[in-house]
């Protein structure tokens, strides 16, 4: 095909678009933006393949490379990039001053890591702990009363994923919530979470 008339100047112009769009895919940090870019890359790749005479390759690129791959990726990204946080339902847990600012802060913090926060309500503390032990949620949020005054609560977040615990430990101020790593085998004491043995009492 190299010396055929179709390989004229404009063919090179179109071919320059391919590395450009590929670079656009690579330099995206947000997975959804990268998927949009992947679609653009697929469309341009199909155009180039068809221009070079490879109709079958172009069709495969459009149907499998763009349509099927984007569908599968979007399902995978949507179901994996999420943090499920178990919370107590009912007015007692949410009706305090710290609830909404804490949620906003958590959402903003997780958004920087391209994660989204999903709240899973549970009826009481017992089922909350069971859900954490059964790995139904990635973390739970407990509201501890510090004193008899109902307004005074100290939110305590237990996460079972080590990476999330590291993020929380470095970026979550103590004033908003107290974050700890939760382990199944309570015998292993972690140096930076001395109170985790109390969670099984």
């Amino acid at each position: 095909m190299a010396d055929s008339p179709i390989m004229s100047s404009y063919a090179y112009a179109i071919m320059l678009l391919l590395p450009l769009s590929a670079a656009m895919v690579i330099f995206q940090s947000n997975p959804y933006q990268a998927l949009v870019m992947r679609g653009i890359l697929g469309a341009i790749a199909a155009l180039i393949y068809a221009m070079m005479g490879g109709g079958d390759v172009a069709l495969t690129e459009a149907l499998v490379g763009t349509m099927l791959a984007i569908t599968l990726y979007v399902v995978a990204v949507r179901s994996s990039l999420v943090m499920r946080l178990g919370v107590l339902e009912g007015e007692g847990a949410k009706n305090n001053l710290q609830w909404q600012p804490m949620l906003d802060y958590l959402r903003a913090m997780l958004k920087r890591y391209q994660l989204r926060l999903e709240l899973v309500p549970y009826s009481d503390t017992q089922s909350l702990h069971q859900a954490l032990a059964a790995k139904e949620v990635h973390g739970v949020c407990l509201m501890d009363r510090t004193g008899p005054n109902a307004e005074e609560v100290a939110p305590r977040i237990l996460v079972r994923v080590r990476r999330l615990a590291e993020i929380f430990a470095t970026e979550l101020p103590e004033a908003i919530a107290d974050a700890k790593l939760y382990r199944d085998d309570a015998l292993v004491t972690l140096p930076h979470s001395p109170t985790l043995t109390e969670e099984h009492s």
Partner: protein
């Protein structure tokens, strides 16, 4: 006809630049939709130019089924946006 194709490449560059410069995901989806249509029509023009109708069939097929992923992507991005905002 070659001039037509070169003009089409110029039109294709506009949404590419838009996708490069704009950070908003919906503007990028618009650029994607525009690029998808434009490339399929360009495949059709190339098929006529080269007189190779196999490529034309490919272009029509891409045109008629290729946009499904775009719609799915749009819906999922909307759902995720709603979930992010709470």
């Amino acid at each position: 006809m070659t001039l037509v194709l070169i003009a089409m490449i110029g039109a294709l560059l506009i949404p590419m630049v838009e996708a490069l410069q704009d950070e908003d995901i919906w503007q990028r989806m618009l650029a994607f939709a525009s690029i998808a249509t434009k490339t399929s029509v360009m495949i059709l023009v190339i098929a006529v130019l080269q007189d190779d109708w196999m490529i034309g069939v490919v272009g029509v097929l891409i045109l008629s089924v290729g946009n499904a992923a775009l719609m799915l992507l749009a819906h999922i991005i909307k759902r995720v946006d709603d979930a992010m905002e709470g």
